[in-house]
């Protein structure tokens, strides 16, 4: 069957503004991935179409883009997940500078991610074996540890759109992942970073991040636990 892709294009060396270009591609069935259709465009029709993709199996998180108005991974979105009877609109992640076509500048995203110190901090001398953590304590982290840093959540958040200093759901989720890690000793350092008007308190529980997350992480729930921890710290 024929499917129309309406892709946002932008070449910084040629265009002053982004524009849309339509391509008609051949899709096998409803299980075809959007990524395969984009590759078809690149390989068959226009080699200049530029987008990121690496593993193509929802693990690396590099092909986050806005498909039919919603952030998703092109490799994890099948035709049956979108209305393909009409042209499928493919745009770069919103509210983030565009480098070229569907490639965005993630520098600010990573800067905010690094602000919460996304690594284990433990200054105690290492024990003879591993730093022990019970299964129950590890389970509290599993959901948050599934994050692949695709940026779909942070760039889907209206709070991020209107406040460029907001640290964003991805960084807050990572803060949770270490604040609630029983082996970590720097919870207060991280809580100081998120206990600001541009930190956890900027989350207005809109749930766009939860809808966008390709790994089905309930990010808002994790942020609510951080807020609770912050309030408990004050008391």
């Amino acid at each position: 069957m024929k499917v129309t892709l309406r892709i946002q294009r932008y070449n910084p060396e040629r265009d002053s503004e982004p524009y849309y270009q339509e391509f008609i591609v051949e899709a096998g069935d409803e299980k075809e991935r959007i990524l395969d259709l984009l590759l078809q465009v690149k390989w068959k029709y226009d080699g200049t179409l530029t987008f990121r993709r690496s593993c193509a199996h929802g693990v690396c998180g590099s092909d986050g883009m806005r498909i039919n108005g919603k952030n998703r991974l092109a490799c994890s979105t099948l035709l049956r997940d979108v209305n393909y009877k009409k042209p499928i609109v493919i745009e770069p992640l919103p509210s983030i500078p565009i480098v070229k076509d569907l490639i965005v500048d993630m520098s600010d995203f990573y800067k905010k991610y690094e602000a919460v110190k996304p690594y284990l901090i433990n200054n105690s001398p290492p024990p003879e074996h591993e730093r022990y953590q019970s299964n129950e304590d590890a389970e509290k982290l599993f959901e948050s540890a599934k994050c692949i840093l695709c940026g779909c959540c942070t760039t889907s958040c209206p709070s991020s759109w209107s406040d460029e200093n907001y640290i964003g759901p991805a960084a807050l989720l990572k803060a949770y992942r270490f604040v609630f890690d029983t082996r970590d000793e720097a919870a207060d350092e991280r809580l100081d970073v998120v206990d600001t008007p541009d930190g956890a308190w900027r989350c207005h529980t809109i749930f766009n991040c939860v809808e966008a997350c390709p790994k089905e992480i309930n990010i808002t729930w994790h942020i609510s636990k951080l807020k609770k921890r912050l309030a408990e710290r004050e008391m």
Partner: protein, 138 residues
Amino acid sequence: MAYQPKPPEGWVKTNLKYTKERGSVAWILHRITGLGLTAYIYVHIYALTSLTQGPKAFDDEMKLFQTPVFHVLEWLLFSLVVYHALNGMRIVIVDWANGARYHKKLLAVVYGLGVVLFIGMGILMFREPIANMFASLR
């Protein structure tokens, strides 16, 4: 040519373009009702300033507020209060309990209870005038 990323679109345009799921619709309604109630506070305070012009001025104004048009407006004001209050409680449950895990069910309760309270208030407010209207037709 030097690398020059294109700055993003403004937040209003992004808001308009991005798909609205139930959570974001609830948030937008919360903002609109919040702004509506804030605007109402100013109208309310302004209306009370007639008190400074003596009892007659105030009574005259109160008579105006007893007209059907103002009753309907009051009923609509009640809808803002109900939604903002119920969704406010939903946000508290999302933030302080585990509401983020079942926020869509909570939202269904907000809408359901909101509609029931809105219609209930409508019955309370307009039962008598409507009955009187039909009585006069007989």
